[in-house]
């Protein structure tokens, strides 16, 4: 699978890695689809959890623009 996580051998998605998580949200702050991000379902779930934690901790916006 040709996605950022696999390419860089990232097995755990951390909510503190804001720059990484920004790759998976669009300009409005919404998560991009699994198909668009080319993630496996396991990876998508991990990214989803990380994005939600980052939003709660105000590291990422809930909505932007």
């Amino acid at each position: 699978m040709n996605n950022i996580l696999t390419q860089n051998d990232i097995r755990h998605v951390d909510y503190k890695d804001v720059d990484l998580l920004k790759q998976f949200v669009n300009a409005h702050g919404r998560m991009v689809s699994r198909r668009r991000a080319s993630l496996t379902s396991k990876q998508q779930r991990a990214v989803e959890a990380a994005v939600k934690r980052a939003r709660f901790m105000a590291l990422l916006p809930y909505i932007a623009k």
Binding site: I4, N8, D14, K16, D19, A58, Y62
Partner: protein
């Protein structure tokens, strides 16, 4: 063999006193003086140590800008905070200790926001930098080329008239 391991894991998971790996993230109020941040962190560490936890990793609090203002609920007054000292720590402790820590972080007036969740012992941060993610294939950079200096020789009026004539004839 693998099945035995799974069964063992299930059995231990049922045990309430089992130790698990947790991560706590917290925002310390920006109103706290920089000298007193150490004390706040020591207090958080104290809660974990008291409950029999052991530390795995830690990130020192750093002042950062928040993505949106947070309104702490203190005394009915709304004071929006758009900056905070963000710190985190990873520890191994019994389930009860993590719950205790989550509760005390919530009650602490110096803590703007906190989160405690289960994680893994391994380092979870991605070992890559943002620029590597966005590899932009750039075309050749534009170089400032000196303009060809047009040789501007003095032009007489006759030459101008001739040039105009040729233009008008066409």
């Amino acid at each position: 063999m693998a099945d035995d391991a799974v069964v063992m894991e299930r059995e231990t998971a049922e045990d309430a006193g089992v130790s698990r790996v947790y991560e706590a993230g917290y925002h310390i109020m920006p109103t706290v003086k920089e000298e007193d941040i150490e004390k706040t962190v020591a207090r958080i560490r104290g809660i974990v140590e008291k409950a029999g936890g052991s530390f795995i990793a830690e990130g020192a609090p750093v002042l950062m800008r928040l993505s949106f203002p947070i309104y702490p609920s203190t005394g009915g007054k709304k004071n929006a905070q758009d900056r905070a000292y963000f710190g985190w720590l990873k520890f191994e402790s019994p389930v009860s200790a993590s719950e205790e820590l989550a509760e005390s972080l919530k009650k602490d007036p110096e803590i703007l926001r906190s989160i405690v969740f289960r994680t893994v012992r391994e380092e979870t941060r991605a070992k890559m930098k943002a620029p590597q993610l966005r590899e932009v294939k750039r075309t050749d950079t534009l170089k400032s080329m000196p303009r060809k200096s047009e040789e501007s020789a003095p032009v007489s009026e006759e030459q101008i008239d001739k040039a105009i004539e040729t233009l008008t004839l066409d």
